[in-house]
Symmetry: C2
Subunit: 280 residues, 2 copies
């Protein structure tokens, strides 16, 4: 059974993503930070890693984009979870008792308007992980505090669900990348995506010419993300996802063409496209 | 004298940006959140607002991009500060005493490697503001905790500087946007930037065609940022900065051309380009 590193505590959405991708027999290995997940896969302590890269409401998890650049791992798969958040508290606690709420900043962001409506003036306290916020609340036994996390986290730590589905928007999806030391082996003809990262000389029209590489070959871009290029203020690394397999002719030619214009270019991996899965 | 809303406590870098832009007679008005800054300018409680939009190491402050879309204010100026961070503690406290460090997540990010070197294993605790972390430390009087902030913040709260310039990279700049209810009046011929936000139908080649609008007119893009389009998973709003004044012919034509392709398009403002200023 593969071992799969993830950031958070048991009950975290990343753990769920690991089970969805590798099956219920996978052995999840909780880590305290995203850096530790990348480290565990790099040094062989885990076979794979699963990290969130993007939420459809709160946006990208930039730390993981930065870590993709810093480490030399491959993206070998993606998992898309439809995420529903729950307001969790000690048994018997009611909404008027609550003055503080713990969760990961992305979960707090995703429930921002619900929190303002349900718990006006509540203090939002950022915790490293959604499931970790439930664990912390259970350990502290505070009756003035709630947490936001999955149903599974509430069950694992024996707390009550005060309100289900408190996310502001039902179109709340998180996309996870599956990391490995080896690139994926992909069946010929499978519907794929490829992720790359590149930087260009900062000259007028450079991004236009980079986009042309793909547009002129009818390759569909699904995502572009810019991140600061360390040491070069106001220059950027671009993370790009596009449809296709980097080993197929058209994509290979596009990447070669792009390399004529870039100062940095890495293929992070080609992997099968995923469909969304619901989690409560 | 203009009143200028900013997020944080006295001694915050945003307050410094307000003084740099409006002069030392400006009346800074501290707010607890970025939302409150936008709110204060929108409802007339403040003449202007100053919010950070981007750091050259840690990246964009996405909340402020989202708030630009949610409110109807204009960007009327930019301020670029060269930011230096200081490790601040109670008088007499030494490095080995320190097990926790408070600061804003961007400051923690910007000092990540220094912290690992200077204070191995230190617990990083996110606080809403750099200067706020110093205020909190002063109030709590904890001798096991340090804060990361400006020299001015250390002075204001009578704490000591344990180590200067702990940022990982000297190329640490933060760019702030100056917000107003009215667009800027710009002298003809002044070197300008314009910020816009747009969304497009999600069809292959759409970003390429949007970039073409600018490239074919030799308009230089200085920044592109994608943010999730709420309610449409995996579709994006693009925030774009380019050289030029939206009222000049070439830029006006480019914006009209872009509007043929967009589902959402707003000009956030044209404003004079700024040069970087050093702050310790």
């Amino acid at each position: 059974m593969p071992t799969v590193a993830y950031q958070g505590e048991p009950g975290a959405f990343s753990e769920q993503a690991a089970f969805d991708h590798f099956g219920v027999d996978a052995i999840p290995q909780p880590c305290t930070t995203f850096d530790a997940v990348f480290g565990a896969v790099t040094d062989g302590a885990s076979d794979y890693g699963v990290v969130p890269v993007e939420n459809s409401l709160a946006g990208s998890i930039h730390r993981n984009y930065d870590l993709l650049m810093r480490h030399h791992l491959y993206i070998v798969g993606e998992v898309i979870l439809r995420i529903s958040h729950n307001l969790i508290a000690l048994p018997g606690v009611q909404a008027p008792d609550i003055h503080r709420v713990y969760s990961h900043w992305q979960a707090l962001d995703q429930c921002e308007q619900s929190l303002t409506r349900l718990l006006p003036g509540v203090e939002r306290i950022q915790v490293y992980d959604t499931a970790g916020s439930v664990k912390m609340l259970a350990e502290e036994g505070r009756r003035d505090t709630a947490a936001i996390a999955s149903k599974r986290a509430a069950e694992l730590y024996n707390l009550s669900i005060l309100r289900e589905a408190i996310e502001d928007d039902a179109t709340n999806y998180t996309r996870f990348a599956v990391l490995s030391r080896q690139p994926a082996e992909i069946a010929p003809g499978a519907a794929c995506k490829t992720s790359i990262v590149f930087a260009m000389r900062n000259v007028p029209g450079s991004l236009f010419r980079a986009m042309a590489v793909f547009a002129l070959r009818d390759i569909d871009l699904t995502k572009i993300e810019s991140r600061p290029l360390q040491g070069s203020p106001w220059e950027y690394l671009f993370y790009l996802d596009f449809g296709g397999n980097a080993h197929d002719d058209v994509c290979r030619r596009a990447i070669n063409h792009l390399s004529e214009q870039t100062t940095i270019l890495r293929v992070l991996g080609s992997y099968p496209r995923a469909a969304a899965i619901s989690v409560k």
